[in-house]
């Protein structure tokens, strides 16, 4: 098993006719992901290398039954595209788009929660995220799949490149991943660390989880609480931004220390207080993960 995307994924892509959208969609298809359609208003009837394009999510769902949506449209249209995909019945929406206004993200988050209570029938990952990769099964988004092999480690991260960095070090030590989930760097992500940890805890293939957090917000503190109370699987964490000055946005819209809230030190402390080991560098994090995996003498898949 793995979480969220796998060989049963039927992917449709909003913004498939754009430069980035088509490039990454075809990349995902080459990896083996089942891409069934695309959505670009006004371009219905066209195709992208054989992938049919529809004018709306409603039509795409009626014609080719996607169960996963990837959003690649520009920020000002992204909120509506997410809601439209959800309303049309797509269960998992993965929003890659960076730069969606925070008020739009608030609206989308609360509408999805209201219209799909329990959060199980519809799930939003992102926005401003690299997507989800289940090695050997499916890749939805922009994660470079060649660094990862199939295995027992679940990875959940607010940052793309940092995920590749840590994941690659674990891979070089001979361990693979069940699924790599990028939850994104925005202030109002559709899914939190806790949401994804819950999935990894329930996933048979996953035996250890690497959590990569950063400054801003309180998602890491909430994860610490969840891990202590609900998880039996080991979690190893990394937090970026110890040297970030307060009040400065560090690249990601959500990566900002506001006053004394959201510091890396507080997050690492919250995790360690709950028994989660926190690596001081990406390398140390990978080393701890490998050490824990080795001790459990888990075979690399």
């Amino acid at each position: 098993m793995s979480v969220l995307v796998d060989e049963h994924t039927r992917l449709a892509v909003a913004g498939i006719t754009g430069r980035e959208g088509s490039f990454h969609t075809l990349n995902n298809r080459r990896y083996g992901t089942n891409v069934v359609g695309g959505v670009t208003p006004g371009k219905g009837g066209q195709d992208v290398e054989g992938i049919p394009v529809f004018d709306s999510w409603e039509q795409a769902v009626a014609e080719c039954q996607p169960n996963t949506a990837m959003i690649f449209v520009p920020p000002r249209f992204a909120a509506d595209s997410i809601l439209e995909a959800a309303a049309a019945g797509v269960e998992l929406v993965i929003a890659i788009t960076e730069g969606i206004p925070a008020h739009d993200e608030l609206r989308v988050y609360n509408l999805l929660k209201r219209d799909h209570p329990g959060g199980r029938s519809i799930r939003l990952i992102g926005p401003n995220c690299p997507g989800i990769l289940s090695p050997g099964k499916a890749n939805v988004g922009i994660i470079p799949a060649s660094f990862f092999t199939q295995g027992n480690v679940g990875v959940v991260s607010r940052s793309g490149t940092l995920t590749y960095q840590i994941g690659n070090e674990i891979a070089r030590a001979g361990f693979g991943c069940s699924t790599i989930v990028g939850i994104g760097g925005d202030p109002v992500p559709g899914s939190s660390f806790v949401d994804v940890l819950e999935l990894f805890q329930a996933d048979e293939q996953t035996e250890l989880v690497v959590l990569s957090g950063e400054i801003g917000g309180s998602a890491e503190e909430e994860a610490a609480e969840y891990i202590a109370e609900r998880m039996s699987k080991p979690v190893v964490a990394y937090i970026a931004g110890f040297t970030a000055p307060a009040g400065k946005q560090m690249g990601h819209a959500g990566a900002i220390v506001s006053g004394s809230a959201g510091t890396a030190a507080a997050k690492a402390q919250a995790l360690e207080a709950r028994g989660v080991r926190v690596g001081r560098t990406p390398t140390e994090t990978a080393e701890i993960a490998v050490e824990v995996l080795g001790r459990a003498s888990l075979p690399a898949a």
């Binding site: 925070a102 922009i142 970026a240 931004g241």
Partner: protein
């Protein structure tokens, strides 16, 4: 300007209010097609700007296509108190367990927005107001703000003033796409006037396209000139107070690089995210930006190529070196290239024989090298 029912519903839906799926049509055949599309039973409603449509026979339930056709034929062209029906709204009929009433309106006598609610909906609300006024709850939006001010124990004589301030703040937050609207202190003058003595407002940079006027508000005169130029070039740059220039790809990796350099005893001079998929030209611009800071003693390039290709980064660095002057060339660079096309990138760098450029295989090794170089200790290439 009054809207037809279906136009109002579209507006509601846009703001997240639940409505039934439906279609606006102008012909009998389209009405039948719409009914089939939204699913029976359907309700067919005359779209006219006058009340009492139901009593006039302008609203009908249809269980199948034949009924839909018959009702559509009867209602289209109907004269409802002087309004000719030219448009129908066909929506899936809802099961109803209770009918309430809700409204927000301009209360002209109080000169305030008024929210009204009643459990006695679905009938003429004026009758409810007259017969059972206790069942029509009326509150000015402002009363909530008054409640907050009262709960916070503001002096009784300034509760109204505080409520006004709270409402204004909320309006700023909502209408300006703010992520923060803060007043501290909000003062009470000896004349018992409530006034903002300070203002702290953060607007959402991602929403500036909705507020073209706000774009000019950025304090560009006091902004760091390098940060300003980076913004113009679409690069994410934050100036810090150290002496080691940092460039990486991806916000998380750059933040992490700053930490690792600090952990190795160095002081980062900046945060600079070249972003995903950056090409040689962007890398060249980034190098120029970093070197604009006079405090720089050494520079670290930390690239883990995903979408970004290491050979492109190497080309950018080589191109930048062709342009930078003698002073730039005296500054040592440590380059760590890993990931997509890393071998090609490293080979390009080696072949270019750039003066003062050192390579490192890992992030930690790169950090240690750059810290030593910034401290004036030579490092082996």
């Amino acid at each position: 300007m009054d809207l037809l029912e279906y136009q109002g519903k579209q507006l509601f839906a846009r703001h997240g209010l639940r409505v039934s799926p439906g279609r606006a049509v102008t012909t009998v055949e389209d009405a039948v097609a719409a009914a089939e599309e939204v699913g029976f039973p359907v309700v067919i409603k005359a779209q006219v700007l006058i009340g009492g449509r139901g009593k006039a026979g302008g609203v009908k339930l249809a269980a199948d296509a034949d009924e839909a056709r018959e009702h559509a034929r009867n209602i289209l062209g109907m004269d409802i108190r002087g309004h000719i029906v030219r448009k129908l709204w066909v929506e899936h009929a809802s099961d109803i367990a209770a009918e309430y009433y809700a409204a927000v309106l301009l209360d002209r006598s109080a000169k305030k927005p008024l929210v009204m609610f009643s459990v006695e909906g679905g009938v003429d609300i004026e009758e409810v107001a007259e017969r059972t006024p206790e069942k029509l709850i009326r509150r000015h939006v402002r009363e909530q703000a008054v409640e907050i001010a009262t709960a916070g124990a503001a002096d009784a004589d300034v509760v109204e003033g505080v409520a006004d301030a709270l409402l204004a703040l909320y309006e700023v937050w909502l209408e300006e796409d703010a992520t923060l609207a803060e007043i501290n202190p909000l003062i009470v003058t000896p004349e018992r006037e409530v006034k903002a003595l300070d203002a702290k407002v953060s607007l959402d940079g991602n929403a500036l396209y909705r507020h073209p006027d706000s774009d000019t508000l950025s304090d560009s005169e006091n902004e760091d000139p390098i940060e300003r130029r980076a913004k113009e070039q679409g690069l994410q740059y934050v100036k810090l107070d150290g002496d080691i220039g940092i460039l990486g790809n991806g916000a998380g990796l750059v933040m992490s690089t700053l930490d690792v350099v600090a952990g190795a005893g160095g002081r980062p001079a900046n945060f600079l995210d070249a972003g995903g998929g950056s090409d040689a030209e962007k890398v060249k611009q980034a190098v120029e930006l970093i070197l604009e800071n006079d405090a720089i003693k050494a520079v670290l390039f930390n690239i883990f190529g995903g979408i970004t290709r290491c050979d492109e980064v190497a080309r950018g660095l080589i191109a930048a070196f062709a342009d930078i002057g003698e002073s730039g060339r005296s500054i040592p660079f440590v380059v760590r290239l890993d990931g997509t096309n890393d071998l090609e990138g490293r080979r390009l760098l080696a072949d270019a024989h750039l003066p003062n450029v050192y390579t490192a295989k890992t992030m930690n090794e790169a950090a240690e090298k750059v810290v030593a170089l910034a401290a004036g200790v030579g490092a082996a290439a």
